[in-house]
């Protein structure tokens, strides 16, 4: 059995813990590919994967932790969510780096937002809402509030911890997967504003989830010692498919590779675990970091990046897609 792999390279220089990672621009080739990282000190670094240097630093969150980064599909625009209760929209085209718009948030939690592009210029944004258990849906870029998703009075799922907006091929209606503080995952029908299905798959808060629309299967990680794999059937009902026990508790992020072959998890135990997504067979345990891993991200070409509290970003090339 081969010895555990080493990272392809390591990016240092964020000066504080890394909390968000996002790949962009991979479609034009490696030289245009960028890795964006958001740090505890509120800075967003843009890394060139060719020179492996930071080419720009964005400071827009007043020193507060950046917890979510996302580029919009229609152009070089970046969305960053910080714990200063602001969500900034950056224009990165032609070397610019200016905040063009911002949304004021009303939740102080750690819940990351999610977007769903609905046309050339319109997209939908899901963010935690004003009430502690609410989720707000906004129509962007007009920032009009579409609706607020509030669980039924007797449900008490606690705060939303992670969000995933999806639109499946079968139905045009947008759906929202939300992981809650009580360890449950709920599927919202956004237009009807009601919960289609809800499963309790963890006993601890859900820290991250990802969904594979093609296989209608998703995975969620929580503060406990297990990953849960669940699936969505024709009737839009969630079902737990199985749990996968881990050595140490605490998963802060899960990501499925775009080709749906691999699953990577960021662990509080300093390790990144890689699984075969179809079978959930463990493939590798990447023990490089010396502190909790906060986020993982996959590039379109299969590159894996992990950001950790030890201020380093490790980049791995595992099982390259053919």
């Amino acid at each position: 059995m081969a010895a555990p792999p080493d990272p392809q390279f390591v990016l240092r220089g964020t000066q504080s813990a890394v909390h968000a990672l996002h790949f962009c621009g991979g479609a034009q080739g490696r030289e245009h590919q960028r890795l964006l990282s958001g740090s505890l000190s509120g800075l967003v670094h843009i890394w060139s994967l060719q020179t492996r240097r930071a080419i720009a630093t964005l400071d827009g969150h007043g020193g507060q932790c950046v917890i979510w980064l996302q580029t919009l599909p229609q152009g070089p625009q970046l969305l960053s969510q910080g714990r200063d209760l602001k969500l900034c929209l950056w224009d990165l085209a032609e070397g610019r780096n200016a905040v063009v718009d911002s949304v004021d948030l009303e939740s102080v939690g750690f819940c990351r937002g999610s977007i769903l592009a609905r046309g050339q210029q319109r997209w939908m944004l899901a963010v935690p809402g004003r009430g502690s258990d609410e989720i707000q849906i906004l129509e962007m870029p007009s920032k009009t509030s579409v609706c607020t998703l509030k669980p039924e009075a007797d449900a008490k799922p606690g705060m939303p911890m992670c969000l995933e907006l999806r639109q499946t091929d079968s139905s045009p209606r947008p759906r929202l997967l939300a992981g809650y503080e009580d360890g449950s995952v709920a599927l919202w029908d956004v237009s009807e504003r009601k919960v289609c299905s809800r499963i309790a798959c963890h006993t601890e808060p859900v820290m991250g989830l990802d969904f594979d629309s093609q296989k209608a299967r998703g995975v969620s990680g929580s503060a406990e010692k297990a990953l849960a794999v669940w699936s969505l059937d024709e009737q839009q009902a969630l079902q737990v498919r199985g749990t996968h026990q881990l050595t140490n508790p605490g998963i802060s992020d899960v990501k499925i590779r775009p080709d749906r072959k691999l699953l990577a998890t960021a662990g509080w135990d300093h390790r990144v675990r890689v699984f075969h997504w179809r079978t959930m067979k463990p493939l590798a345990v990447l023990a490089f970091h010396s502190a909790a891993v906060h986020c993982v991200a996959f590039a379109a070409d299969g590159l894996l990046a992990a950001g950790s509290k030890d201020r380093r970003i490790s980049v791995w090339s595992l099982y390259p897609p053919s």
């Binding site: 050595t247 140490n248 067979k281 023990a287």
Partner: protein
């Protein structure tokens, strides 16, 4: 006189005369052709009465005459070997028994390698090839019992079975391959089957027949030790033939019954080993054990109690055979009782070899698997009593293998004998033996009997029962395997994930005192565990701090209990204790040795003390110990990393130099080993003397000379080890004296483990005490030890070792004796060798001792006398 008979006699006499005198080939040929009429099979055969008369009275004489004429000239009288062919046809076509006897007789009488001998040997080979041996045996089977001529039959029997030996004697190097036992006995088996076939046919035809001659042949061949060859052929054939034929089964039973008593054991042993399963065995033997006393003795006593070389399948066949038939089941119950009695007898446990104990245990488990609960209930008390006695004796034994055997059998047997009671559960590691025994205990699959019952319908498809169960097992396993095969269809090969351990929080103490505090008071188990893990490294890095708290720390560690299940707790604790003892040897050794004879300790703790003392002594006497840093201490804040790195750096450079340098000198490169004082020298007394003093004073809870012989054995081994490690120290002589006295006091101890420890102690005295001092200072003790070792012992090991010691003092290249000879000659052994310090591989086993002894024990350049 009957005219017919006299005419035959006349003809034969004339013919013999012609043969012996005539030189005319044609005349001889026609005479022989004429005589062939009496053998039948020609166009105008002689009258039956004439044929019979010829065969009965004149055939042997004629054959002898023919043999005597055999020579190259005589055969050359007619061209193309016509005469030879005709000559041979008399042997091949006439009555087989006479032909065979005459041939064998002639072969044995003919001297040396000669034309005639080889011709006859080839003829005999043809005789065998033509299947005439079957005719020989068949002839004996057809004879009515009263007509049989016992002397002739005996002669025939001896020659049929002993043919390979006789032929080998006659032909020496010219022997033909057909007569090798490996080929002859299988052929004999084939022939026997053919005879039996003929017997069965004639029985079907209403003719009376006897198989006793075949039985005798088989029996004698088995007595000659040829079971594998002859039964290897017979059994499979008979298995097939008896399937579904009552007549064949009866013939087969009769065949075994007729085996003479003296050959019964050999035949039955062979059958049990060759038969593929109990059902086959049952078909071949029938209820033989009920009919024949000898057979019952062999099957229920000899094979079970007096021998233990048989394989497990053979044992299963044997006991399964007893279990198959209801009439035989009482025998099985009886056998189980006796087996349990043997299993539980303390004297058997002490004196029987381990292999035999395993064998008996296997037999017990197989019996239990065969017997039903109701049958067990009848003799339950008896069985339980033996079981408990056996378990107790075994658990008391100081040999781990015996203890494990006791645990395994106790678990299984108690579950069967006493099912309603609470199940016994021992903690033992799974290994090959335990798996095998547990598999034996599982009840035999019921599929056996239906397959047997169904076999007459489809004899070709039916397999032997054992094979079927094996196949069944494979089939059951396969579906589980197929799952993983489906999984592995992708190209992703997992990386090594063995490093994926549970994460420990970083709470490890940084100071030795913190460790002591954490171990004694901490309720935070993570901290407690981290302290335990960090302790060894800390002790080695901070010797001064350790010395301040050494005794306190040793006390804490000695009394430490495993409160949470920490992986490798025992090892961690032991290593930490060894580190403390090695750092502050005098006070800690004093403390530990005093605690060894203190009241409130468990045996485990006392044995830990012994282990720790021996390991610490080894650590102290390790050459170059001061130069290198601790083996497992990771460089921490108190230790600059460079000091730990230096040796590896040097090793790398040395290796590079060695690779790139060509040396012109002969022999291996000599390495100068840096000398350093043996640290054990100063403190050996603290380790040794307190330990050896109190062994004969029993405490309430601890009696070394009584029940706690395991600890006594350990003590003897440890003392030996300490003695061995004290080589070239100044106290070695007085230690040796004390140790020899200790050995003398215990020399007749009943436990093998203790005696083994004593032997190791004696050998380490011989190794460690300088030869001249040995003879000068302790001659009396030495003589006593020699008297003990040379005395005719009852235990094989002792005798063996004693022989080694006493016989080959000067000559043998054996280390033992070399050292003895050094001791007796008073010659100092090899002063030119330097730098080897003793190393203990394993302190408490004879292997360890042997390993020690294999190390050429050179005196130390680092001894106190020569130390810088």
């Amino acid at each position: 006189m009957d005219p017919v008979l006299s005419s035959v006699r006349l003809t034969v006499r004339e013919a013999v005369h012609t043969l012996s005198s005539s030189e005319d080939g044609g005349c001889i040929f026609s005479t022989l052709e004429f005589l062939k009429r009496y053998l039948g099979e020609t166009e105008n055969p002689a009258l039956p009465a004439e044929q019979e008369e010829f065969a009965r009275l004149h055939f042997s004489a004629l054959l002898r005459c023919l043999v005597s004429k055999l020579s190259p000239d005589w055969l050359g009288l007619l061209p193309d070997g016509q005469l030879e062919e005709l000559w041979a046809s008399f042997f091949l076509e006439g009555p087989a028994d006479q032909a065979f006897l005459v041939l064998m007789e002639a072969l044995e009488d003919t001297p040396g390698p000669s034309f005639r001998l080889m011709k006859m040997a080839r003829l005999l080979a043809r005789f065998l090839k033509a299947g005439r041996m079957a005719a020989v045996m068949e002839g004996q089977c057809r004879q009515q019992a009263e007509l049989a001529f016992p002397l002739l039959q005996e002669a025939l029997l001896v020659r049929v079975v002993g043919l390979p030996d006789r032929l080998a004697n006659c032909l020496q190097h010219e022997n033909l391959a057909e007569f090798f036992p490996q080929r002859y006995y299988p052929l004999l088996g084939e022939e026997a089957v053919r005879v039996l076939q003929a017997v069965v046919d004639s029985l079907r035809g209403g003719l009376d027949c006897s198989v006793s001659f075949v039985s005798q042949v088989v029996g004698k061949a088995c007595v000659y030790g040829r079971q594998k060859e002859i039964l290897g052929v017979l059994v499979p054939r008979l298995t097939a033939l008896t399937r579904g034929s009552c007549l064949w089964q009866r013939v087969c039973w009769r065949l075994v019954e007729c085996v003479p008593d003296r050959a019964m054991e050999a035949v039955l042993t062979g059958l049990v080993e060759t038969a593929p399963g109990p059902h086959t065995l049952s078909r071949l033997l029938g209820n033989l054990v009920l009919k024949s006393k000898k057979a019952r003795f062999v099957m229920t006593q000899k094979l079970l109690f007096l021998q233990y070389r048989h394989s497990t399948p053979a044992l299963q066949s044997l006991l399964g055979y007893l279990a198959v038939d209801s009439q035989r089941r009482p025998l099985l119950v009886q056998a189980l009782k006796e087996l349990m009695e043997t299993w539980g007898s303390s004297s058997a446990i002490r004196h029987a070899p381990l292999d035999q104990q395993r064998y008996v245990s296997r037999a017990v488990l197989i019996c239990l698997a065969h017997l039903a609960d109701a049958e067990l209930q009848d003799s339950r008390d008896e069985l339980l009593a033996s079981l408990m006695a056996g378990v107790k004796c075994r658990l008391d034994s100081s040999l781990p293998a015996v203890r494990r055997l006791g645990m395994i059998v106790a678990e299984v047997a108690s579950a069967r004998i006493h099912p309603e009671g609470p199940p016994l559960k021992f903690q033992y590691e799974e290994d090959e033996l335990s798996c095998e025994l547990l598999a034996l205990a599982a009840p035999q699959p019921a599929a056996d009997s239906p397959s047997e019952a169904g076999s007459p319908v489809t004899p070709d498809a039916a397999e032997t029962p054992d094979k079927q169960t094996e196949e069944g097992g494979v089939l059951q396993v396969r579906p589980q395997g197929s799952d993983s095969e489906l999984d592995s269809d992708d190209e992703f090969v997992p990386y090594d994930m063995s490093g994926d351990q549970e994460l420990k929080s970083g709470k490890a103490p940084m100071y030795v005192r913190d460790c002591v505090e954490a171990l004694t008071t901490s309720e935070d188990w993570e901290r407690w565990e981290a302290a335990l893990r960090a302790l060894e490294g800390l002790v080695f890095r901070n010797p001064a701090a350790t010395r301040e708290v050494s005794v306190e720390l040793a006390q804490v560690l000695l009394l430490l209990e495993e409160k949470t299940s920490v992986a490798g707790f025992e090892g961690l604790r032991q290593r930490a204790l060894v580190a403390v003892t090695a750092t502050a040897p005098a006070p800690v050794a004093e403390y530990l040795t005093s605690q060894f004879y203190a009241v409130n300790y468990s045996l485990r703790q006392r044995m830990d003390i012994l282990d720790v003392l021996a390991l610490a002594a080894q650590e102290l006497s390790r050459p170059g110990r001061l130069g290198s840093t601790s083996p497992c201490g990771s460089p921490g804040p108190t230790c600059p990393p460079s000091c730990a790195r230096a040796p590896t750096w040097r090793a790398v450079v040395d290796e590079r130099i060695r690779r790139k340098t060509r040396r012109f000198s002969q022999g291996p490169p000599r390495k100068g080993l840096a000398g350093s004082p043996n640290e054990f020298n100063a403190v050996a007394g603290y380790f040794f003397f307190p330990l050896i003093q109190g062994f004969d004073r029993p405490l309430v809870t601890f009696d070394l000379l009584g029940d706690d012989q395991l600890v006594l054995g350990r003590l003897a081994h440890t003392l030996g080890a300490l003695m061995y490690l004290a080589v070239n120290t100044t106290v070695a002589v007085s230690m040796g004296k004390a140790l020899l006295e200790f050995v003398w006091a215990l020399r007749f101890h009943g436990d093998a483990y203790v005696r083994r420890g004593l032997l190791s102690a004696v050998s380490s005295v011989l190794l460690s005490v300088p030869a001249e001092r040995l003879l000068e200072d302790l001659p009396d003790e030495l003589l006593e030890a020699r008297a003990w070792l040379a005395a005719p012992g009852t235990i094989a090991t002792r005798r063996r070792k004693a022989r080694k010691l006493s016989t080959g003092r000067r000559s043998q290249a054996d280390v033992w004796t070399r050292w003895c000879s050094h001791a007796w000659d008073g010659r100092p052994p090899g002063p030119e060798r330097a730098g080897r310090r003793p190393r203990l591989c394993c302190l408490h086993s004879p292997e360890g001792l042997r390993a020690q002894l294999e190390v050429p024990p050179g005196p130390l350049g680092t001894a106190p006398t020569t130390a810088p």
